[in-house]
Each structure stands twice: as structure tokens, then as C-alpha cells.
């Protein structure tokens, strides 16, 4: 049983590592739990937002969590590739499918940034 738990834990850690660069689908609670205690800024963006270019920058990818709001994962990932280049592979991207994260942080317009 313990061995099973260890395997599951190891798998989830491996997949979490692989998931960086691709957008993770998280609820607002999951987002806050996962990055609790980290000094991160949420950068809200979407593929339909032309002016988000000024906020989705490679030099910010270390401290930013890029939140794709009301978008399609493939489109959001394409935008990160476009703006971040190689940094897109290591950047943290969260997919806010229903807009729940944006709602909790009071985001109605894009682009916008909020502390985690």
C-alpha cells in the first residue's frame, strides 16, 4: 500500500514537472494551494487580447504565473510560445477555463496583473 502511494506521489511529481510549459487546468483553490508561500504574480492573458503582449514577457517568466482566462489551452500555449520563445517551456501557465480565477481576483479586463 505504501509502495503504491510512493509510486503515485512520484508519478504526480514527474507529471507536474512535465506539465510546466503546458497550461495546467486548476481551480482558484488549487492554484493558491499549489503555489502557497511563493512570491508570484498572476499575469492574466488570453489569445484574444492584443495588448497582453506588453505583460507576457520572457524576463518575467521566473516570477510570473501566466493565467490564460476564458481561452482554449492550445491557443494560450501558442501565445506563450510567441511571446516567451524558449522560456515558454519553463514558464508556469494556468488555464482558467471558466474564468473562476479571474472572477476571484476581480479581473474583468485584460491584460491585468495581481499578486498571488
Amino acid at each position: 500500500m505504501n509502495a503504491m502511494k510512493t509510486i503515485l506521489l512520484a508519478s504526480s511529481l514527474i507529471f507536474a514537472g512535465f506539465a510546466q510549459g503546458a497550461c495546467l487546468t486548476l481551480s482558484v483553490d488549487e492554484l493558491q494551494q499549489r503555489f502557497a508561500g511563493q512570491d508570484k504574480t498572476l499575469v492574466f492573458f488570453a489569445s484574444w487580447c492584443a495588448s497582453c503582449k506588453k505583460h507576457v514577457l520572457p524576463e518575467r517568466s521566473d516570477r510570473a504565473i501566466f493565467v490564460a482566462s476564458v481561452d482554449e489551452p492550445s491557443r494560450a500555449e501558442a501565445v506563450l510560445k510567441l511571446y516567451l520563445g524558449q522560456k515558454a517551456d519553463t514558464a508556469i501557465c494556468v488555464f482558467d477555463a471558466s474564468g473562476g480565477i479571474a472572477k476571484r481576483y476581480g479581473v474583468h479586463n485584460l491584460p491585468q496583473e495581481k499578486p498571488l
Binding site: 489569445s47 487580447c49 506588453k54 476564458v70 482554449e72 501565445v79 474583468h108
Partner: protein, 296 residues
């Protein structure tokens, strides 16, 4: 008439049921259609607009300018509410109050009520800027108030509505991913027959083409402007077409809109009706509108 309204309701219901998937960017601004547009993150929005219209003159059927015998100044308080129904569809309802003035005489009344819907058929994408946003528009204006056909006051001071129901349908295309944004709308309408004291009146079908240019000098505000080409077929009275009663006009508009990150935003619009080209049975006037929009 009743049958047509049932068809309209069925179409609206179909749109609501059909649009189950994904997003929308409704931030285009062709300006001359429904006043409230929701961006994909917005669920509800309230709109309050105050407009002043003045400088009224009429173009006759030969295109010659004549004095206007209606109000010298019109003021409108327009209230609208938009509600997102699905990620790709929202509906809005608008109506308001009007004030007509001529000299020292003033009359107040309700204006017509309109229900609007916008469905995003295709959403813009920064990685494919050559593909436009495509929206389908469907609206219905209800005859809710007195019109020039049944006005009782001299100079139509108690006239605040069109005098008939009218259904609008069309498309709105917007290239919003370039530094200079542009797009256009094409809206068609069908006016429903209405009983007036002169008889059964049916305004002709209309076709409205809107060409728009947009520019965002700063992230917090945008400027859009363009031209409206309005055409309407001849009026039918008791099934007889009134000769030379079709309409033609070209208008210009300019709109400044704030895009602040909070919940409140503002819009200022200027419209010059009968601005350029040749006109027929049209109105020459200018309108200024200041609006407040709150995202709920």
C-alpha cells in the same frame, strides 16, 4: 405578424442552445448598433447613456435640405443591461426616457425597447492576426411608445419611438489584432406592419453598412470612428407603396472609450447624421452621447 415573432423567438432559442462552447472577444466597436458589448471575462454590464441631439434639418426626396418641423433638441437617457448567456453569446436589453424641446415647449416620454443578442462565431487570436472576429447580431425593437404617425402634439413633441416593431439581423467582422484596427458590420432589418390613424403602415426593409477604424494610443483607452451607410425601402400604407418614400443617408461617428481595469468605464460618442454624400428622405443632425458602463 404573430407567426414571424414566433420564428424570431425560435431563432433566439436556437442560438442560446447552440452556443455551448467557448469564449468570445466582443471588444470590437462598430459603434452604431447595440450599446453594450461584453468582453469574454464580463458576465453582466450596466450602461447609462445621456445624449443630446440637435441641429435638425430634413433632406427631402430630391436630397434638398428643408427646415425640420419636429423638436429642435432631443435628449435621451438610455439604460441598458447585458447578460452573458454562454461563453460565446450574450444578450442585452435597452430602453430609456426621452425629452423633446421646441422653443419653450418640452415633452417627456419613454423610448422604444430593444432586445439584442451577439454570438461569437469566430474569436480573434494574436497568433493568427489575419483572421477576424466574426459576430452574428440579432435584435428586435419593440414599439413601446408614440411615434410621429400617432403624435398628438404640435411638432411631434410627444413622439419618442419608431412606431413599429423591427427585427435586425447581421454580421460584424473585426480585425482587432493590428495596431490600426478595422472592421465592418452589415445589418438588415424587417419592419413589422403597424396600425396608425392613417392606416396600416409598413416601413420598408433597411440595410445598414458600417465601416469602422480603431486605434488604441494607450492601453487604457481606444478611439474608434467610421461611416454608416443607411438605406431603407419605400413605405407601404394599406398595401400601397408610397412613391419616393425610400430613404438614403450617410453618417459619421467618432467614439472615445476608456478601458480601465476597474469596474467602471466611460464612453463619449459624436454622431453626425447626414454627414456626406447624397441623401433622400433623411435627417441632418448631430448627437453627443456620454455613457457610463459598470461591469457587475
Amino acid at each position: 405578424m404573430k407567426y414571424s415573432k414566433t420564428v424570431l423567438l425560435l431563432i433566439l432559442s436556437f442560438w442560446i442552445l447552440a452556443s455551448e462552447k467557448l469564449l468570445a472577444c466582443s471588444s470590437c466597436g462598430s459603434g452604431a448598433a447595440d450599446p453594450v458589448v461584453l468582453n469574454p471575462l464580463e458576465r453582466q454590464k450596466l450602461y447609462l447613456g445621456l445624449s443630446v441631439q440637435s441641429g435638425f434639418r430634413d433632406f427631402d426626396h430630391r436630397g434638398e435640405l428643408r427646415p425640420d418641423y419636429g423638436p429642435e433638441q432631443q435628449r435621451r437617457l438610455e439604460v441598458a443591461f447585458a447578460q452573458r448567456v454562454s461563453p460565446t453569446l450574450f444578450v442585452s436589453l435597452d430602453g430609456g426616457l426621452g425629452e423633446n424641446r421646441r422653443g419653450s415647449r418640452v415633452k417627456h416620454g419613454l423610448t422604444d425597447t430593444t432586445i439584442n443578442s451577439r454570438w461569437n462565431a469566430w474569436t480573434q487570436d494574436v497568433t493568427k492576426p489575419w483572421l477576424p472576429q466574426v459576430q452574428m447580431v440579432l435584435s428586435h425593437r419593440f414599439k413601446t411608445t408614440r411615434s410621429v404617425q400617432d403624435a398628438r402634439e404640435e411638432n411631434y413633441l410627444d413622439s419618442f419611438g419608431a412606431g413599429y416593431d423591427e427585427t435586425f439581423a447581421g454580421t460584424d467582422i473585426w480585425f482587432g489584432m493590428w495596431p490600426l484596427m478595422f472592421g465592418g458590420s452589415l445589418l438588415f432589418s424587417k419592419a413589422w406592419e403597424s396600425s396608425t390613424k392613417s392606416g396600416r403602415l409598413e416601413a420598408g426593409p433597411s440595410r445598414k453598412a458600417i465601416a469602422t477604424l480603431g486605434f488604441m494610443p494607450f492601453e487604457e483607452w481606444k478611439l474608434i470612428g467610421g461611416a454608416i451607410f443607411d438605406r431603407r425601402g419605400a413605405i407601404r400604407l394599406d398595401d400601397h407603396e408610397l412613391p419616393e418614400s425610400d430613404k438614403r443617408s450617410q453618417d459619421l461617428f467618432l467614439t472615445w472609450e476608456s478601458l480601465l481595469k476597474g469596474t467602471d468605464n466611460f464612453r463619449f460618442s459624436f454622431v453626425k447624421k447626414g454627414a456626406f454624400g447624397s441623401h433622400k428622405n433623411a435627417v441632418l443632425m448631430r448627437a453627443y452621447t456620454l455613457a457610463w458602463l459598470r461591469t457587475l
